[in-house]
């Protein structure tokens, strides 16, 4: 039995270690990833074991990190670049959007840029400005990039290796407030495909769709709703680009109702796209409009207000009530 319980952060660490063992072309790079092991310790011990040539402490320059990762990938390496926090990806945004995303297409498919960009993202840890943001829609909007986010240790372990194996650039959003949550990891399992959604809890009355940090919140909401005699299905999307609409459609055809939950602002967010597509696909099955629960059209607030800003049980259940009231 290869299953062990470990925190999500440790699962990522084990996954990176495994990927580096399996493929000498895999490199880890970023600020403080070496001796310190990253500010969240995701790369802990890797430099000690794989050396400074494969676990590269970079200068403090995000555009430089991603730009050189692109070059390394063009040369046959598989760089896994860490952006220290969500809000610091923007100096690299130009490289990601104008270069990384488009290079394969521009080269008529002749070059591959298998760069993984790891971003600890979203809120809930009481941090200062720029350390709690959910910029996933800004990346999912860009053709050429794939975006994923694990919600538990097992997915963290497997999705990271799959992202590294992918020949496409993958933005790997790590739900930082779930880093310390423990879960089973079966290192001998055969994982499902990277971009499939997973029904995390079966139910018949309404579907909650979420990814990353909000999956746990939705599972808790489903438990709370069950006490009130309501049966909620929870779909963990796992991938925000592409989105597995087939799995979601099957769920909505069963339940007739959908609430999408994410931390990012609702306006023009991932939930907007899901609402539109599911409305197109499931129009005659829907008993209520697709509702969205998420952040406001406002800067992420200071830590003392983040519990108000972040969707919690109450806000999810409120939307469930509204959807069921139709």
């Amino acid at each position: 039995m290869a299953a062990t319980k470990m925190p999500l952060a440790k699962a990522l660490n084990e996954s990176l270690r495994k990927a580096m063992e399996d493929n000498p072309k895999v490199l880890v790079m970023g600020e403080d990833v070496g001796k310190l092991g990253g500010v969240f310790r995701i790369t802990d011990g890797l430099q000690k074991d794989f050396g400074e040539d494969r676990v590269i402490d970079t200068p403090l320059a995000e555009s430089g990190i991603i730009g050189t990762a692109i070059g390394l990938a063009l040369r046959g390496y598989r760089p896994v670049a860490e952006i220290q926090f969500d809000g610091f990806v923007f100096p690299a945004y130009d490289q990601i959007v104008t270069q990384l995303a488009k290079m394969h297409a521009r080269a008529l498919g002749k070059v591959k840029v298998p760069v993984v960009i790891r971003i600890p993202y979203a809120g809930g840890i009481g941090a200062v400005e720029h350390h709690s943001e959910s910029p996933e829609a800004l990346f999912a909007h860009v053709a050429g990039l794939k975006c994923v986010s694990p919600s538990n240790s097992s997915d963290a372990y497997w999705m990271m290796q799959q992202a590294i194996e992918s020949d496409d650039p993958v933005i790997f959003f790590e739900p930082k407030r779930r880093y310390w949550d423990k879960g089973e990891v079966d290192t001998a399992a055969i994982p499902g495909p990277l971009h499939t959604a997973r029904v995390a809890r079966q139910g018949g009355d309404l579907t909650l769709a979420a990814y990353g940090p909000m999956v746990k919140t939705c599972l808790e909401a489903a438990t709370a709703a069950a006490d009130e005699g309501r049966s909620l299905e929870v779909v963990d999307l796992r991938s925000m680009s592409p989105i597995d609409f087939d799995t979601l459609q099957r769920s909505v055809e069963k339940t007739g109702r959908l609430v999408v939950v994410h931390e990012a602002p609702v306006f023009l967010g991932t939930g907007s796209e899901i609402a539109a597509r599911i409305t197109e696909r499931c129009f005659y099955h829907l008993e209520a409009p697709v509702l969205r629960v998420g952040g406001f059209h406002a800067p992420y607030p200071p830590a003392r207000l983040e519990d108000e800003y972040l969707p919690g049980l109450d806000r999810v259940l409120d939307a469930v009530d509204r959807a069921l009231a139709y």
Binding site: D57, L60, F88, H297, A298
Partner: protein, 392 residues
Amino acid sequence: MTVEGTAARSTTRRSGGTGKRASAARKKKTATSATAEPELVQLLTPQGERVEHPDYAIDPTPEELRGLYRDMMLTRRFDAEATALQRQGELGLWASLLGQEAAQIGSARALHDDDYVFPTYREHGVAWVRGVDPTNLLGMFRGVNHGGWDPNSNNFHLYTIVIGSQTLHATGYAMGVAKDGADSAVVAYFGDGASSQGDVAEAFTFAAVYNAPVVFFCQNNQWAISEPAERQSRVPIYQRAAGFGFPGVRVDGNDVLACLAVTKAAVERARSGQGPMLVEAFTYRMGAHTTSDDPTKYRRDEEREAWEAKDPILRLRTLLEKEKLADKAFLDAVDEESDALAKRVRDAVRTMPNPDTMAIFEHVYADGHALVDEERAQYAEYLASFEPEEAK
């Protein structure tokens, strides 16, 4: 100057030769070995001796010397209190300036009121000199706001967390100053790590091209979280200015007099229309990067101990005592003032109110925005639906 020369050599040796982290740098030393020995402007030695420098003469009055001591003491005490408050759970995070008091106080005391400062997030000493109430600095670290002061009331901009961004703002502001024909200067503070950011290089470019009256004040505290300065640059940071077309100078960042003198020269240069200058204050971050950081993972104690011997406050105090410029009454008074400041800060933090929930929707736009109005109204309605149960 022999004294400076010695200081320069010893600091250079230190940064290149300690511990494992230097070994990688050593292997590839050829790139740096060709550059000149860094000149370190020093006016006050670690032993508290005054020394002269041909370009940066300064003759502070006893009153000014005591003032610098007081500034540094109060700043250090404020910083220690904030660190303690973080440990007690009153602040979410704190970025200590311990060890960098001379660089901050010396440089800030060189400025006029109408000069403008663009800090990063560790410039508590500069804020002090600018007259920002120190309790305002804590709101951001407590998590009740993202700023906490009006930048224009003290010409001290908000703290900037995204590394290097503010150097461009400072440059643009300085371009505006020049367009206005004003004779004030702008100072951009940043770290050794920040010097790697593209924004900083672009700030240098703009400042040089437009001859902007901006002083780039880099506090090289040797570390960017876990990464040593040599991970950011293969040449001393101050030497980079030459490539952009303006002068750079390295100053002993633990020597408050040298920091004052060199910054004075730099801002006067800027004010008189001679353009930008880069000042690299060679100093040391004595504590952790922030209260979340664990320097034992990457840094050796001996390094810190070596820098403690160069403590910026101690050396000024030695001078004051040796030259009989400060009696016991003065020193005691500063200590008392420190205690009072610490208490004021403690009380202010503990009673700092949480922001109102609806503050989330405040100031998102200057002219208002329909979507924000809609979301505000919806959220208010949602909250009101709980009121019967959760009446406060």
